[in-house]
């Protein structure tokens, strides 16, 4: 089973210890080296809180389940503050190749059950996760086709 980023964003988050809904997924950060989801936020804006992957039980169902509401925490380094600020968001971000060409914008991303990136879909085509190089406030960078 696969999960699309566009469906993951906004998905309800439920704590399995209390069965209470504690919010909805706001932002998702993907590590360019491994393609893994390395953090998500619950909520958006100033009230967004970070949840580490080790506290996440499942992302591929109808809701995202986390171990406990106590696992949510404030952003505590620059990278997490960038995540909360939306600078690590992939959707709609312009896509540049390592050769300096612009090749559309991110339309969606596909993850497997374990939160590992499989495919980046852009407005102009698809890039396998292996081509994914970096994401920041300006662009998502993918390897040029001939490299």
């Amino acid at each position: 089973m696969t999960v699309n980023l566009s469906e993951l964003i906004g998905r309800k988050v439920v704590a399995v210890d209390t069965a209470e809904q504690i919010g909805a997924i706001g932002h998702v950060r993907v590590d360019p080296g491994t393609g893994r989801i390395t953090a998500m936020t619950v909520g958006k804006g100033r009230k967004a809180q970070v949840v580490s992957p080790d506290a996440v039980r499942a992302i591929a169902g109808d809701v995202v389940t986390v171990t406990s509401a106590a696992a949510l925490r404030e952003a505590d380094d620059d990278d997490e503050r960038a995540l909360v600020g939306g600078d690590r968001d992939l959707l709609r971000r312009r896509v540049l190749t390592t050769a300096g060409y612009e090749v559309g914008a991110v339309a969606d991303c596909e993850f497997d059950d374990d939160g590992v990136l499989q495919v980046v879909r852009t407005t102009e085509g698809e890039h396998l996760a292996a081509a994914f190089r970096g994401v920041g406030s300006y662009a998502v960078v993918v390897a040029a086709a001939d490299t």
Partner: protein, 187 residues
């Protein structure tokens, strides 16, 4: 097909890190070595009020130049300006011996072909200068492939006589002129 860019199209391009996807600077001016080779770029901060940055981007640290961005591996690729021998060859002409824009192009037998108005760089890996754009006396534009260059001094660029009849009048033509030398450029 060989994709080429004029120097003036490179000025203003964002400098983007491959590892973090951030636009850390934008190209301010091209910098040339004394022998006319491209040494790299001076940089501006990004944004409307962005002023000049102290750091330089030297050619060796350029991962690629493309129509949308200049790509570098990481922000560690920007180096502080340590007063290198290179100088700026921007539209003002710059100073010192490395002036390139405005140089007169002459053949070995002394005919003037025009003056250099811009440089042509190769898209893709690294930063490679492949030719010059020149304005001829009749105001028309032509291109000279770099491999045809005999010597450059800061006031003159000397080319072989036969080039007078082989000037390329558009970038596509220059691309064809450059193609035979391309393998040698991608070292």
């Amino acid at each position: 097909m060989t994709a080429l860019l004029l120097g003036r199209d490179v000025i203003g391009l964002p400098v983007v890190t491959i590892d973090r996807g951030e636009d850390v600077a934008e190209v301010r001016e091209l910098v040339f070595e004394r022998d006319g080779a491209l040494a790299g770029f001076t940089l501006n901060k990004r944004g409307f009020l962005g002023g000049r940055m102290r750091e330089l981007l030297v050619a060796a640290n350029v991962a690629a130049v493309g129509p949308a961005a200049v790509m570098i591996d990481s922000d560690g690729c920007l180096a502080a300006d340590e007063g290198s021998t290179a100088s700026v060859g921007g539209s003002g002409g710059g100073s010192g011996d490395a002036r390139v824009f405005g140089d007169e192009v002459i053949t070995e037998s002394g005919s003037a072909l025009g003056t250099i108005t811009d440089v042509v760089v190769l898209c893709g890996g690294g930063l490679a200068l492949v030719g010059y754009q020149l304005a001829k006396a009749d105001k028309s534009t032509a291109f000279v492939p770099l491999p045809a260059q005999r010597s450059i001094s800061g006031s003159h660029l000397v080319v072989p006589d036969e080039l007078a009849t082989q000037l390329r009048h558009d970038l596509t033509g220059l691309g064809e002129g450059v193609a035979p030398y391309k393998d040698g450029l991608e070292t």
